[in-house]
Symmetry: C2
Subunit: 215 residues, 2 copies
């Protein structure tokens, strides 16, 4: 059942919902009313109830939902019900930080390769992965199933590298470079951007505005 | 002139516009038509022209805009016309990666302090900054002007730490923890979130969906 007929806007919020429900689960909560749920996920209860219904009749109004089925269903839509393999290209500080982020493993994302072109990094180990030469990347992609490639490389290298990995079958790129890779890639490739500089500028902008308001 | 009467939706896009215009500048481009500009920033020319007008009459239709005044104006709105100071709390791999991100310095963001509670990290140096004990953070905030605090710490510590730094005058938090800090903070504090896990889950979700579409 592709995407359960849920709207694009809800799809976009699913990772957040999943995080909230995961928090509930870690707190040992068993059931939750749609009113409470709507408080947590900041979404009107009147909109949550029909959305919940998409996931099947696992709740009874007034009694509260056993949110665990919702949690699991959302996990499936997010692809978290199966292990996914990831390769990180760029083993600088950011690439290494990402390789070491335990939270990803908990969600089933497994780093199976790290690549860099810097001879000083090649051969050293990051979280049970030996950093390999970037020149070996295409062979690696041909010989291993790789779901996601994470790009933590200089911007000038990003378009060519993104094109190359997609030519070797990769359909998902987690992009930390300040480049709009979509412009360079076929339509059946998905790109998720983490633009750190833009995020910081947005914060700076909001700070100026709140200061102007205060003054 | 607070925010120049520009809509919230445009404000949100300013960091991206700034990045595009910065790219033009680095490529040595002098003038650009609103049609070209709209192609780059993927926004209809009919909407760009009035937006440009907010920034003053620095262009002549048909002749092309000298986008540099636009670039500078956007920079001002983003607060990039003056240096801003940043403190990073959490000197793990992510905190260190952020401290070393050169692109921020180019935009005028200067890291003036890095703090951690891990005795093994305290005293070592990251980009000309000595990692200080987290216990010294409040004194540091009282004795230095700090515009932005970046949180790259375990989630359980995030609410208390965020509250504490805002009590010591900080109004902007760049939040890398998977916690909605707004819930814990006064209204005159701005928070910008980088939720890495959510970003990765969104990518995974998009990947599932494009695979379903392809199959």
């Amino acid at each position: 059942m592709p995407n359960h007929g849920i709207s694009e806007a809800v799809i976009k919020r699913l990772p957040r919902y999943y995080r909230y429900l995961n928090d509930l689960s870690e707190q040992g909560v068993e059931r939750i009313s749609s009113a409470e749920l709507s408080k947590i996920i900041k979404f009107p209860g009147s909109l949550i109830r029909p959305a919940l219904m998409h996931f099947g009749g696992f709740g009874r109004k007034g009694y509260g939902y056993n949110y665990r089925s919702l949690y699991e269903e959302i996990g499936k839509i997010l692809g978290l019900d199966k292990a996914q393999t990831m390769v990180i290209v760029g083993a600088g500080r950011l690439g290494q930080a990402l390789a070491n982020y335990v939270r990803f493993e908990k969600r089933g994302f497994r780093v199976i390769g790290i690549f860099d072109s810097n001879p000083e990094l090649i051969g050293s180990t990051v979280r049970q992965c030996t950093i390999q030469s970037a020149s070996e990347l295409t062979a690696f992609l041909d010989n291993n199933h790789v779901d996601i490639v994470t790009l933590a490389i200089p911007r000038k290298d990003a378009p060519d590298l993104a094109r190359m990995v997609t030519e070797h079958g990769v359909q998902a790129i987690w992009n930390f470079t300040p480049v709009d890779l979509n412009l360079y890639l076929p339509e059946n490739v998905v790109v998720e951007n983490v633009h750190l500089s833009e995020s910081l500028m947005k914060l700076s902008c909001d700070l100026q505005r709140i200061r102007e308001k205060d003054s």
